[in-house]
């Protein structure tokens, strides 16, 4: 019996080994397919944004394949992606990245969702010299480590709300403003905070409240009571979707009057849908908005992308999907310019990327971050009970005027 078990084990391991070695020798380009790999959060706390990311990738793969694929060496190739579920867990994500590279033989990677998971994977792709184009890790620390194989199509986190402070100063007649801020204690939100600190220094503004919100927190009444007592010119809140929803709930309940409220994650939190009119006048940082006039030949314009995405997946694309689609456009462009499947040649091509996509201009800085695309700010505006996000800054893309100051709660119906 024991012998049989042993024999069986040997047999199985032999088969596994054979399969593993065969697949790795083929995997980077299998027949007419270029195989990309991605660990993505399909379960766990990031699962909704993970799915947005995956839908964005899939949408782009389908579109590029349909429109002639990727031309390398005079031959046309199609994209294919191997996905693994990282369960929103950084350790698991790093393991899966190893597995994609070592077992599945993937030579080109797409990023996961969130800064934290991207941070977990980047050292692995760097170790094996695998070029990774990521679309959902904005933390500044990703771009200061000297990674050579990491490219991000999105603007880094510290740029998210800097514009808002400039805007507040402008509205204050060019004079410095008083800032109250509350940020969650995680890599992303703290980077947003650093951006505000820079902007405050630049404009000579003063930070009068600087609260850090713990991850578990869903009550910020104390911060808001302080805001009420100290009357700042602008209140800045960033704490992912929970922070955005909690802030609006408690600001409206406690009737906190501030002339300007700037936040992140408004669209991910479906703020205008969940809180309706209570969220009106909130100013939100966003990587992308469908009304921007960027264009490319695959998706046309932002509006067209919005329409096609809705048709395919049944909901309006959040910016997480748009930037994910853009990542594949970048890969296609790089493969064609490199005209090779050599990893280092592809990496060099990525480094010299300079293109426009429906999502925005893309050009990578020395750390791998996108330096060609500004962040935009939109403001929630309501007509009756239906609320919409209107782009108000930067002026070049603005579709509506920035409403300032926010009317007092006693004057709001």
């Amino acid at each position: 019996m024991n012998k049989l078990v042993k024999l069986f084990t040997i047999f199985i391991s032999a088969i596994t080994l054979t399969i593993a070695s065969i697949s790795s020798s083929f995997a980077k380009v299998e027949g007419e397919y270029i195989v990309l790999g991605s660990a993505i959060s399909l379960t766990g706390k990031y699962s909704s944004n993970g799915v947005h990311t995956q839908n964005g990738y899939n949408m782009a793969v389908e579109r590029i394949n349909k429109m002639g694929g990727v031309k390398v060496g005079g031959k046309s190739y199609k994209f294919e992606i191997i996905y693994y579920d990282d369960e929103s867990n950084p350790k698991r994500a790093a393991q899966l990245a190893e597995r994609l590279i070592k077992q599945d033989g993937v030579h080109y990677m797409l990023g996961p969702y969130s800064s934290g998971l991207t941070k977990a994977i980047a050292p692995v792709t760097e170790k094996y010299k695998i070029p990774m184009v990521e679309a959902n890790g904005a933390s500044r620390s990703l771009f200061t480590k000297g990674y050579k194989y990491l490219f991000a199509v999105l603007s880094p986190a510290n740029q998210y709300l800097e514009v808002a402070i400039d805007l507040a100063v402008e509205k204050n007649g060019g004079k410095p403003v008083k800032i109250a801020q509350a940020f969650e204690q995680d890599a992303f939100s703290q980077d947003v905070r650093l951006g505000i600190l820079d902007a405050a220094k630049r404009t000579g503004s003063k930070i009068i409240i600087d609260d850090k919100l713990p991850k578990e927190l869903n009550d910020m009444a104390a911060t808001l009571a302080k805001v009420k007592a100290t009357k700042p010119d602008v209140l800045v809140v960033s704490g992912h979707t929970k922070g955005a929803l909690t802030a609006i709930r408690q600001i409206s309940e406690m009737k906190v009057d501030v002339p300007m409220l700037a936040m992140t994650h408004c669209d991910a939190a479906k703020l205008s849908k969940q809180h309706g009119k209570k969220s009106e006048y909130a100013l939100c940082a966003s990587q992308w908005h469908k009304n921007l006039s960027y264009k490319d030949k695959f998706f046309g314009s932002g509006k067209k992308y919005d329409k096609d995405f809705k048709k395919e997946f049944g909901y309006a694309p959040p910016y997480q999907s748009a930037e994910s689609s853009a990542a594949l456009l970048v890969f296609k462009d790089a493969f064609e310019r490199a005209d090779s499947f050599d990893r280092d040649k592809v990496r060099d091509a990525l480094k010299t990327t300079e293109m426009q996509t429906f999502y925005g201009n893309i050009k990578f800085g020395p750390g791998g971050q996108n330096v060609a695309k500004p962040m935009i700010l939109f403001q929630v505006r309501c007509k009756g009970d239906s609320c919409e996000n209107k782009v108000v800054a930067p002026t070049k893309w603005a579709s509506d005027k920035f409403y300032h100051p926010i009317p007092k709660w006693s004057e709001r119906s």
Partner: protein
């Protein structure tokens, strides 16, 4: 350190009222925990997740166009059966084993619940709207959301109801008897198995009420249950088992403590302060106990 609160008396009032209203809600959850801890000697790690599940029931009603406040009636009824089923499936196998086994078992239940809620309701943070408005005091300088007042009021109402039920009803007496001495109660004809199932059900029902209240006062997310477990654990540690007034007082005390820690130490230490207090209380209780033993010698 920030002493703004001592300069502005209105902030002090605001903090105290916020703390007390929140504390009453915590006390309701803690009472459920104290009840099953006292009766069955089980520390339920899944307590917070039962709360969140109760919240999702109210949220589902809200999505269906029913006012979420009705959740305080519907949610406990559904949750009672959830609790009862949990007892029959898992807890009855660990109830007379040592504490460690039951902590492990309920920890497992917590994970399963989190994943199930994530699967069914999605990973988005959600809120239900009560549209109850706000009460303004002292010329608008202190604001109290009516939803928080409502939740404190409902919590008190249910707590009083439960006390009367425990005192007067047959099942209530059976539960108290089992808590005092399970073997003796069994010998005297109490069906302890039934009592255990009912206790677990009542605890889940209390969590359901608290969850429905949280859906209109705070936010819901499949993974935010643990802080509620920790808070109720702490309240029970301070108050002792089966002592409702003490639970209520220590609940409000914890609410106040949190609010003041937030103002003075900063928001980042709010939850940290709760854990520090927990350590301090555990050490203090140990110290007191050891003193007692010496005295008895």
């Amino acid at each position: 350190m920030d002493f703004l609160i001592f300069k502005a008396p209105m902030l002090m009032v605001q903090a105290s009222l916020d703390g007390i209203l929140l504390g009453i809600l915590f006390a309701l959850i803690a009472y459920g925990m104290a009840l099953q801890w006292g009766v069955m000697n089980i520390i339920n790690i899944a307590q917070g997740d039962l709360v969140i599940l109760g919240g999702y029931i109210a949220y589902t009603m809200y999505l269906a166009g029913i006012h979420p406040a009705w959740g305080v009636i519907v949610s406990p009824i559904i949750m009672y059966f959830v609790g009862w089923a949990l007892y029959k499936l898992v807890i009855n196998k660990v109830v007379d084993r040592d504490l460690f086994i039951s902590i492990l078992a309920t920890f497992g239940i917590a994970i399963v619940f989190q994943q199930l809620m994530n699967f069914i309701f999605g990973a988005d943070v959600v809120v239900a709207q009560s549209e109850y408005g706000t009460t303004m005091l002292f010329d608008n300088s202190v604001t109290l959301p009516n939803s928080k007042i409502f939740s404190a009021f409902i919590s008190v109402l249910y707590a009083i109801g439960l006390v009367i039920y425990m005192k007067k009803s047959r099942l209530g007496r059976a539960i108290r008897a089992t808590a005092q001495n399970a073997r003796a109660a069994k010998i005297l004809g109490v069906d302890t198995e039934k009592v255990y199932a009912a206790t677990f059900g009542i605890n889940a029902a209390l969590c359901g009420i608290a969850g429905a209240l949280i859906s209109i006062t705070l936010t819901l997310h499949p993974y935010v249950g643990l802080p509620y477990t920790v808070r109720s654990f702490m309240i029970v540690i301070v108050a002792g088992l089966g002592n409702l007034p003490a639970v209520a007082v220590s609940g409000m005390g914890l609410g106040l403590f949190e609010e003041f820690a937030d103002y003075i130490l900063g928001t980042e230490f709010r939850i940290g302060a709760v854990f520090m207090l927990l350590v301090f209380i555990l050490v203090y209780r140990r110290f007191k106990l050891s003193k007692k033993r010496e005295y008895l010698k």
